[in-house]
Amino acid sequence: MKKHSFGSLAFMSLVLLVLYLPIIVVVVYSFNDNTARIPLAFTGWSTRWYDSLFEGRGGYLDALWLSVKVALWSVLISGVIGTLGAIGMTQRALDGKRRSGWFDAVMESMVTLPIMIPEIILGLAFMVIFNALGIRGNEARLVMAHVTFCVPYVFLSVKSRLVGMDQSLFDAARDLGASSARVLRDITLPLCRPAIISGSFLALAMSMDDFVISFFVYGAGEGTLPIKIYSSVKVGVSPVVNALCSLMIAAAFIFAALSRYLGAVKKARSSRNQMGLTSE
């Protein structure tokens, strides 16, 4: 590996510092002892905000739980729809070269439309439709709306992976007698897995993050975490939110580290196996 020059190291550290400084401030202030309404000064270390978080003050844990539930359902449903949609569309394009492609083109832009339409319009439209249909369950409303804007992320990610794939893999499987269901299960899905996972993570982030659509879709109730935090502007955001965000950041870091570690272990194992094979 090439050694990094001092200049590039300094540059990288600077970029990382700028990127992570706000996060560090959030974490440090979650331990702030200052109980003023707008705690600007850091007056000492304390875990009081974590205590109030776990006592259920402000209902932030309930809001987080709702956000997580909605995000997981949305990702699950949009993962299935998006993946199958991408596979189907790619298949159509390969099968039907003789057919004119306008239908496929329209379908594809339809799929990606939800991320192009301004959120406020989508949110209002959902609210009006749900009210007209009498769909009242808050969670159901949220999941349905979130699935709509989550599908494109999975779809686009899987689609781009499939397009770059060698078609002869599938042909070979069929040639050897595999049913199309078997091809899907043993060839297509495993090959798409990284794309499905990365698309799903994007969708997860979008769902957890969404405020505008959720606000309009949501009926009476405490709301998701973003709704709760944005709505605190009038009286000031409670440091309890800092505590909660710090825990979420920690969870994200641990998750990322764990997946890197497991990935590295797996890679090492498979390369060892390969070496074993060649030496035989």
Binding site: I38, L40, V128, F215, G219, A220, G223, Y230, V235
Partner: protein, 345 residues
């Protein structure tokens, strides 16, 4: 395919009544800013009456109006919001008259904050708290005495004002400094106000409530044009700042509760409003939020800190010269355009 669709629709429709049955519930759904009524107050109310409070947070008045006007307010019982939006809700028929015979504390309210333009006959609104916009300055750092909005344009204040960030208020005080109303709709006069407003930009150091507050506390800004709730916090964090009641007249606002026309928990909602008008509860809420108390009977429960705080305890003669920002209808787009041009300099 059609059969399946029909089946799904049937299932959905048959499930509807199950979702809708919630009429006898002892619950009150309130739509407002997160944390605008102290959590402890809400819990105490539930303990006393057995009525559960479901607090639905909103971020801004505009979003609330859009949501309520599109959905008819279904699902919500009470909305706690600001004066001009109360007027819009009333004019659109989205709220209903209150039954005052259900109140025991109604007489506690201070008449100064009643019979306002949004509810001239006092039929719809229960005022919660009131707040105004004030100028604060550090006499050590500002070389002259500030008495009104006009002084904000003074060249000595270059890059030293922290201000709230709301089109109607900023343009409103510009109009006030020119001797007009904050609710001017004449395009001609608004064009003049734009001319006047533009050079103010070079005096402004920070925009936004929290940003300005931080700039004032750290000493980055020596003058603030801020909400009274922040000015009252400043009394403890940075007592060197002096509060000015601008001589052109202060702008103030009242936040109040209204009962939606679609409310399904009318009795619970009235019980909640009655609780809010209880003198001790009202005194606690005003002090907790740092706003001006609107409950006459609550005055004996207010602390000395409240009475000695010029940001919340506004003299009556100052209140007489005050003005409330009202809905200006179509002219709002002119305000928005002026403010965008101002901010993009």
């Amino acid at each position: 395919m059609k059969k399946i669709m029909a089946l799904i629709l049937c299932l959905c429709l048959s499930a509807l009544p199950l979702l809708g049955l919630a009429e006898e519930e002892k619950v009150v759904n309130i739509l407002s800013w997160e944390g605008y009524v102290d959590e402890d107050t809400l819990n105490a109310f539930t303990e006393e009456t057995g009525i559960k409070v479901v607090w639905s947070p909103m971020e801004s008045i505009d979003e609330m109006l859009l949501k309520i006007s599109q959905s008819g307010g279904e699902g919500y019982d009470l909305i706690l919001t600001s004066d001009y939006s109360l007027d819009i809700l009333r004019q659109e028929g989205l709220i209903q008259k209150l039954d005052k015979s259900k109140f025991t504390n109604y007489g506690n309210l201070n008449p100064t904050y009643m019979s306002q333009f949004y509810d001239p006959e006092n039929e719809y609104v229960i005022p919660y708290v009131s707040g105004c916009t004030l100028i604060v300055y550090d006499p050590e750092k500002v070389p002259f005495e500030i008495t009104g909005y006009e002084d904000l344009w003074n060249e000595a204040l270059q890059d030293s004002i922290g201000t709230l960030d709301l089109d109607r208020v900023i343009i409103g005080v510009t109009l006030k400094s020119m001797g007009y109303s904050m609710n001017e709709t004449d395009p001609e006069i608004l064009a003049q106000a734009k001319e006047k407003l533009m050079p103010l930009y070079k005096n402004i150091r920070a925009f936004g409530d929290t940003e300005s507050y931080a700039a004032l506390v750290s000493g980055e800004a020596s003058v603030g044009f801020i909400y009274a709730s922040f000015a009252s916090l400043l009394q403890t964090d940075a007592p060197q700042f002096q509060v000015v009641y601008p001589k052109e007249g202060i702008g103030f606002g009242i936040d109040g509760f209204v009962l939606t026309a679609a409310s399904k928990h009318v009795d619970s909602a009235h019980a909640f409003l009655d609780y809010i008008m209880n003198p001790e509860v009202a005194a606690h809420n005003a002090e907790y939020q740092g706003y001006t108390n609107v409950n006459k009977a609550a005055e004996e429960y207010l602390s000395d800190a409240y009475w000695s705080n010029p940001a919340v305890c506004i003299p009556d003669d100052v209140m007489k010269g005050s003005e409330i920002v009202q809905d200006v209808g179509e002219a709002q787009s002119i305000y928005t355009d002026i403010y965008t041009a101002f901010k993009l300099q």
